[in-house]
């Protein structure tokens, strides 16, 4: 399953860091952060609880960049 979230992040390198952090979160199959459109596309693994995974993604992203926001 794929979902797109609106995000807020100030610098491009931070967006890359967020992408890495999201990718490493368990339950996430693939994640792409688009700095230009301020969007995050997340592909979840089968049978995952999307909202729980996203909470985890947000937590991991906050770790690498405190200023970021994901609108879940």
């Amino acid at each position: 399953m794929k979902k797109t979230y609106k995000i807020e992040v100030d610098c491009a390198n931070c967006a890359n860091l967020m992408e890495d952090a999201a990718k490493k979160t368990s339950g996430v199959k693939e994640a792409v952060v688009n700095f230009m459109t301020q969007k995050m596309n997340v592909e979840f693994e089968e049978g995952q609880d999307v909202s729980a995974v996203m909470q985890e993604v947000l937590k991991n992203c906050k770790k690498v960049e405190q200023d970021c926001e994901i609108f879940i």
């Binding site: 610098c11 890359n16 688009n34």
Partner: protein, 627 residues
């Protein structure tokens, strides 16, 4: 400017004033340090907090850490040196100014580009109880009737049921010539109604409408990352830690060598200062921001011209295109066959056409359609009996009880009818009536007015080979190819042959030269996906083409292909400029910093100044009108 940026501006101004004031005061020692700490904290507190959190989260090497270490270090140098704290604060100050400017410039350009592509209609007019109501296009179902007033955007795809008007399609196609639309015409969302009120019955939901599809495509395009972007993000990951360790080495090794090896004074402060300069330069932001921004601007600029590039990676491939393979029908020619001549007939032209149209009436072949079009009247199928289709030859049938045969030379031979060959190029239909030759009809496709020009401008842009593939007869194909100036032509191909021909060409070309295939999106999807880059033309409304191709031209003007290639080259050129420029300047300043020539001011320029210049350079990609 948003709230965050305004707050930052306030902090910058406040601390700048404080520094200037404090500089005038004749104080020294720890009091001086304490007073200078105030503007330092005002300007840099968030950086310090972030750096601290970064260490706690084991994300040490980010720019906040670098700035924190560099400025704290510079303050220390001040305490042990001559009490000069201005530089440390100024470094932080300029860093913040740079960040602010960068965030403003990037935000602004992001917005501009997005606005360029904003063809999203805000509302649809629906008539309810005799009154016009504005509703969200999402709420309008299939088959509803919407009203579009002059000056408004068409919100959903549909068919005109009342009124006629001119439409401005420039937001979709980049074509400024208005298009006339009358009752019964299909109309696509995103056009602007120019002259009079139209009533439209919708045929698609908003989510499925052309405008949503295009927006979706363009917005997602920058998510498909190019090789340059991958390179930069990998580079950034290595670069920052590398510079940090070098800075550490620079701070420790030379003084130790001086002290122990050469017996000189270690000059700790000097070397630490140099190391701090290093840290300031180590932020990879200029690179990381300017590359995706260049691609984004390129995709935005292209879409303004009616060229949709589906990803940054395709932008890159497109710029390396050296071979362009065209499908003939619908791409270089209009794909509408018309009767172009009738020769050697004894009966009247119109009578012969009538017979031909009737005989072919059962066939769905384009030829039969063009005959029917030339005939211009309703076909009365009951006049036709005994229709026999001889595959690859033609058709025989009885019309009003008279034996009529229509087909190629093979059919005439088969029926033992002596025919006269034609020297014109096109599809020749020989006619025999009651076993006697009755002349022939020539049907040919018309070359698009801009095709020859398109090939010329491709050649000018450095395309090595323009190849044409077609299912048509050899004579037709070669005459078209010659008039257009094609390098190679392959004719009489079945759809499957086109794939294998493209594969052959893929094999003989060098690895670096890329091959683009241009088709009209109808039944050439396999070839579109097999080529390095698939370009579909005339995609307005054709979902299959948008799906299969990597680059979609919104109208069917072949001249746009050369334009697309030129835009992609400009985009890639600017990407490379930015990579070389940013890495180059940083490297030079790193070396100068290590030698003690560059001070922190120059280092700040290497960080912030380079970013700003790179961002401005990236914006240049947007200007593609004159390419």
């Amino acid at each position: 400017m948003n709230k965050k940026q305004k707050k930052m501006l306030g902090r910058i101004i406040l601390s700048a004033i404080l520094i200037v004031v404090l500089e005038q005061l004749p104080i020294a020692g720890m009091l001086r340090f304490g007073l200078f700490l105030v503007p330092y904290l005002i300007i840099g507190y968030d950086i310090l907090i972030k750096a601290f959190n970064g260490i706690r989260n084991k994300q040490v090497f980010d720019e906040n850490f670098l700035m924190a270490v560099a400025t704290i270090g510079a303050m220390m140098v001040g305490i042990f040196g001559e009490g000069d704290y201005t530089e440390a604060i100024a470094v932080m100050l300029f860093y913040q100014v740079g960040e602010l400017f960068q965030s403003y410039a990037v935000g602004k350009s992001r917005k501009n580009i997005s606005e360029l592509m904003d063809i999203r209609p805000d509302y649809a007019n629906v008539e309810r109880n005799g009154k016009l109501e504005r509703v969200d296009p999402d709420e309008v179902g299939i088959g509803s009737v919407i009203i579009v007033q002059p000056g408004e955007k068409v919100p959903l795809d549909g068919v005109i049921i009342e009124g006629e008007s001119s439409l401005n399609t420039s937001a979709l196609t980049g074509e400024s010539l208005p298009r006339e639309a009358v009752i019964g015409d299909e109309i696509i969302s995103g056009c602007i109604n120019m002259t009079s009120v139209l009533k439209i019955q919708t045929t698609k939901e908003f989510g499925e409408s052309t405008v949503s599809k295009i927006l979706d495509l363009v917005e997602n395009a920058s998510s498909r990352k190019s090789k340059s972007e991958d390179f930069i993000s990998k580079f950034a990951k290595v670069y920052t830690p590398l510079v940090c360790y070098s800075a550490l080495a620079l701070a420790i090794i030379p003084p130790l060598v001086r002290m122990l090896g050469m017996g000189l004074s270690p000059d700790w402060t000097d070397w630490i200062y140099r190391a701090l300069t290093f840290l300031v330069i180590s932020c990879p932001c200029a690179l990381v921001i300017s590359i995706p921004l260049s691609f984004f601007a390129g995709i935005g600029g292209a879409s303004k011209e009616g060229i949709l590039v589906k990803g940054s990676n395709y932008m890159e491939t497109l710029s390396k295109t050296k071979y362009v393979v065209f499908d003939k029908t619908g791409t270089l020619t209009q794909g509408v066959f018309e009767v172009n001549g009738i020769h050697h007939n004894e009966m009247e032209d119109s009578k012969l056409i009538e017979y031909a149209a009737l005989v072919e009436s059962a066939s769905s072949h384009p030829i039969s359609k063009s005959l029917q079009k030339a005939y211009g009247k309703e076909i009365d199928r009951s006049r036709v009996t005994d229709t026999k289709e001889i595959s690859g030859n033609g058709i025989t049938a009885k019309v009003d009880g008279i034996e009529v045969a229509a087909g190629n030379a093979k059919l005439m031979n088969r029926l033992n009818v002596k025919y006269i060959d034609c020297h014109h190029v096109g599809t020749i239909i020989h006619m025999a009536i009651n076993g006697v030759y009755a002349g022939h009809i020539i049907i040919s496709d018309i070359i698009k007015p801009h095709s020859a020009e398109a090939i010329r401008s491709l050649k000018k842009a450095g395309i090595e080979k323009a190849v044409m593939l077609t299912g048509d007869a050899k004579a037709v194909a070669e005459s078209v190819a010659k008039s257009l100036g094609m390098d190679e032509v392959y004719s009489e191909l079945l759809p499957g042959d086109k794939v294998s021909k493209v594969e052959e060409l893929l094999n003989i070309k060098s690895e670096k030269a890329k091959l683009a295939f241009v088709g009209d999106g109808i039944n050439d999807a396999p070839v579109l996906s097999r080529a390095d880059i698939g370009i579909a033309m005339g995609a307005m409304g054709s979902d299959a083409a948008i799906e299969a191709a990597d680059v979609v031209l919104m109208d069917d003007n072949p001249i746009k292909i050369a334009k697309a290639i030129k835009i992609s080259r400009k985009c890639i050129r600017i990407v490379y400029q930015n990579i070389v420029f940013a890495i180059g300047i940083k490297f030079i300043v790193l070396v100068l910093g290590a030698l003690g020539i560059a001070n922190m001011w120059l280092a700040i320029f290497a960080d912030v100044g380079v970013t700003i210049i790179a961002v401005l350079n990236a914006i240049r990609v947007l200007f593609v009108k004159k390419l």
